[in-house]
């Protein structure tokens, strides 16, 4: 069987073929033909030569039983071969420039675990979790398991059950053939020269030859089903150091594979919908009283939407501010004359009550000290919101998290963030809390960086923290719901309206996330000085991921960041286009956010897992060869087919929590764990995730799966 690697034979067969419009590769059909031939041929011979004697000497039930098993095997084989595995239809995008604008990864949270979705350039969408692109079939397949050459089809969500049952039934069938053939041969051991005996022995040989790899593969898949993993995940080592977010327990995993409803196919569906006529005039939602009032006060310069939102919050803030607090000292925006007044807007907004209804929900009691400054509110405010929106996120979640009891134990850097709502910019230090929440202005940041947090001296944190918070808070009008939406709502299928040209590993030099700083690089020296405290090459957002940051907060923040960054793009695309300088930097910001989030969650997960494992030692993991070279020893052809598909995605298989590249995938641990189904891998992360930061700070190099190296600032 190992010799049947299709490529070897296919080279000869497919070579002389001419070039048709669709390349016909006969080599692809060799393994499946061989498998069919062996299966049907051997069984037929067995039925013809061995079964008559069996039915006479033992019972007629025996051939019947063998026939049933054989038919079951054949049915599953046909289903595995011909059934659509769950191919996704290609994504539609508007214009081919969108491809360049899509950040390579999008992070999503599944049961508390960060999972990265990669942009598939062929299929033009972000691959859903567990989806993978099959290079042989050139399709993205849902719940991709592997591409099986023996059935010449991908095994995915829809046909995994049939493939699994095929393996089980084939193993049974081979055992039947071999067993009953052995009975025959033993009974006729003195008449082995008869053709019947010879044929039976030949069939036994074939059966015995195929039994070892098939049984091995069956055992492998039994373990996979019990663990709730796909072959792709097992072979690429996605869960080697971490937790599988897709497992529901042994029994549930098995029932999911065997008893779940047959998934629908996505391709080739009958589209019976008649075109619906959509004619103006269109209804509009009725405005609430507050909105009407807002409209009255609106100077009508800009969009209803923005004015509505901003005005509501402003009104609320104003009513409160008059009573609660005296106006704060003037903002230090004189340092950055280049920045428009929007920055003061942001800072004022940041310091107190949120400028947006969503923020308002969380911190209703505070005044807006900067309100007095921001007298021409709307256009500038809108602008600041637009600009700051790219950093929309952490603050609402942070604010919200501040209300959670578990948050109380968070370090002061976050406390400082939470008090952002209550504090008033840089001058609220006297409150005994951390830096206030100044806007995304460099000036504010620089002022803040001078502060030391009360409890812990994370001076490097506040600047970047404040930066991101500042930017995000000013733009958090989008995040009406905060906590449970880690997945950003991309305005397009992944690309269309995301006007960021981002490449995989870009990092802005100044490490600043504030859109303002990106807009006005002249101000960035302040950021750089702050950023240097963290690490030269890593974003402050990374550094500001406190080692004690809970996964929850990090994920919330990431989600909000994503939300903000993507919602930033579409409605304000026109605005963006009008301002040319931001365009090159905003994709960076976008990707920076992505990258940061990746690292944050990675850090977070590592650290949280590390904290639970006293025995872990914070050293770099040894660089080991890529996992795909080490996969199944029992079925080399299997490895062969799995390998080439995973090669193009060396880093794609990394889940957020798994930074270390661990040693070879060992098959022996695949034997069911003593407890049954709880995965052994759960014990692994305790030891494995040791990309801990050293207490002294600095940059930690961690090698991830596939040999990729990450620098994480600590």
């Amino acid at each position: 069987m190992p010799g049947f690697s299709g490529g070897v034979i296919g080279g000869g067969v497919g070579g002389p073929a001419s070039a048709p419009p669709r390349p016909f590769r006969p080599s692809r059909y060799v393994p499946v033909s061989a498998a069919t031939t062996f299966l049907v041929g051997a069984t037929t011979l067995f039925f013809c030569f061995t079964c008559p004697w069996l039915s006479e000497s033992i019972s007629s039930v025996v051939p019947f039983y063998i026939a049933v098993i054989f038919l079951f095997t054949l049915a599953n084989f046909c289903m595995a071969t011909f059934m659509d595995p769950g191919i996704f239809p290609r994504g539609k995008t508007e214009g081919d420039t969108d491809d360049f604008r899509a950040p390579l990864y999008k992070t999503v949270e599944i049961r508390g675990i960060q999972v990265r979705m990669k942009w598939c350039s062929t299929c033009r969408f972000y691959r859903p979790p567990r989806c993978s692109h099959c290079s042989v079939c050139d399709n993205c397949v849902e719940d991709f398991d592997h591409h099986c050459p023996w059935v010449n089809n991908c095994i995915g969500r829809r046909n995994y059950r049939y493939f699994f049952l095929f393996l089980l039934s084939l193993t049974t069938h081979i055992m039947n053939i071999f067993g009953f053939g052995l009975v025959y041969v033993l009974h006729h051991r003195h008449q082995l020269d008869t053709p019947h005996a010879a044929v039976t022995m030949a069939v036994m040989c074939v059966a015995g030859l195929f039994f070892v790899p098939v049984a091995g593969l069956t055992g492998f898949h039994i373990v996979l089903v019990a663990r709730g993993r796909t072959t792709n995940e097992q072979v690429t080592g996605k869960f080697r150091g971490g937790v599988n977010p897709f497992t529901k327990g042994c029994l549930r995993n098995i029932s999911h594979v065997l008893c779940s409803p047959q998934a629908p196919r996505y391709l080739g569906r009958w589209r019976g919908h008649e075109a619906l006529e959509v004619q103006p005039p269109f209804l509009r939602p009725s405005l609430t009283e507050a909105q009407l009032e807002a409209k009255v006060l609106d100077n009508g310069i800009h969009n209803d939407r923005h004015s509505t939102r901003s005005k509501i919050s402003l009104d609320q803030m104003e009513s409160q501010s008059a009573d609660i607090e005296p106006p704060p000292p003037p903002k230090p925006d004189f340092r950055y004359p280049g920045l428009p007044r929007a920055d003061t807007e942001e800072s004022s907004l940041l310091t107190n009550a949120p400028p947006t209804p969503s923020m308002y929900k969380y911190r209703p009691a505070y005044s807006s000290p900067g309100r007095n400054h921001a007298t021409p509110p709307h256009p500038i405010k809108v602008q600041s919101m637009i600009r700051g929106e790219s950093l929309d996120s952490p603050s609402p979640s942070i604010l919200q998290s501040s209300r959670q009891p578990s948050y109380r134990s968070e370090p002061s850097s976050l406390d400082g963030a939470t008090v952002v709502g209550g504090g008033v910019g840089v001058h609220r230090g006297e409150r005994g809390e951390g830096p206030g929440g100044p806007g995304g202005t460099a000036g504010v940041v620089s002022g803040v960086s001078g502060y030391s947090l009360t409890r812990r001296s994370y001076t490097s944190y506040p600047s970047s923290l404040v930066l991101s918070i500042g930017g995000s808070r000013s733009s958090s009008q989008r995040s009406a719901q905060t906590v449970h939406n880690p997945l950003a709502t991309l305005q397009s299928e992944g690309t269309t309206d995301t006007s960021y040209k981002s490449l995989a590993n870009q990092t802005p030099r100044n490490g600043s996330l504030s859109y303002d700083s990106l807009l006005t690089p002249s101000e960035s020296p302040e950021f750089e000085s702050a950023a240097h405290e963290l690490s030269p090459q890593n974003s402050p957002l990374q550094g500001y991921t406190s080692p004690f940051l809970s996964a929850q907060i990090a994920q919330q923040r990431e989600g909000q960041l994503l939300q903000g960054s993507t919602t930033f793009s579409s409605p304000h695309r026109a605005y963006l286009r009008a301002v040319s300088p931001p365009t090159p930097s905003s994709p960076e910001a976008q990707h920076l956010l992505q990258h940061k989030q990746d690292v944050i969650s990675r850090n977070t997960r590592n650290l949280s897992s590390l904290s639970s494992s006293p025995g872990a030692h914070p050293l770099e993991p040894p660089v080991s060869p890529p996992p795909r070279g080490l996969s199944l020893s029992k079925s080399p052809s299997y490895t062969g087919e799995a390998g080439p598909q995973h090669k193009p995605r060396p880093a794609g298989g990394v889940y957020m929590f798994e930074v270390n590249h661990l040693t070879s995938i060992s098959l022996s641990p695949l034997s069911p764990s003593p407890n049954g189904c709880p995965t052994r891998s759960t014990s692994r992360p305790v030891l494995a995730n040791h990309s801990t930061p050293k207490p002294g700070g600095g940059v930690k190099k961690v090698t991830g799966v596939g040999g990729t190296t990450y620098e994480i600032s600590v």
């Binding site: 979790p129 409803p261 047959q262 996505y266 569906r269 619906l276 939602p285 305005q491 299928e493 579409s570």
Partner: protein, 186 residues
Amino acid sequence: MWFLTKQFAVRRYFTHCLSALIDLVCGTKRWRTSEFVLASLVFVQTHSLQDLQQPAVSSKVYVQRDYSSGTICKFQTKFPSELESRLDKQQFDETIQTLNNLYAEAEKLGGKSYLEGCLACVTAYTIFLCMETHYEKVLKKIARYIKDQNEKIYAPRGLLLTDPIERGLRVVEVTIFEDRSIGSGR
């Protein structure tokens, strides 16, 4: 005419035709008659396109999947900002919640799906040729529901929901049509 031609593609087309005609007039390019006819036809056509009643597609909003509870089919209930001026949040919420419930019903691991699987096994899967699976039945229900929602709620507001099954159950696509009746700017 520029402010009327909101569609970028149409505008591009228009520009191309205009430049083609200018070339012709200035004699900078030698034209075949067919090209000229085609260009003028296109020019005319572009002009007449705007007279068509079909409202232009302003933008598309994608409601992404909510993967927080695993790979079950569930869509995010977060209200997209682009729809704020067009739709009430409650209506949108209700639509998405109903869709989520329907998909949960489709994917439920109940006795029905188990029996269906057993029957399929016993009949060597030939039952699939005659019978519709449980999931497909619910998908039909979902298609009816979406059509109903479109007719009653979304189309009158210049929106259109696309059945997510057409996108591989990855997104709910909401098409926003241009509102030319009032110069609201959005």
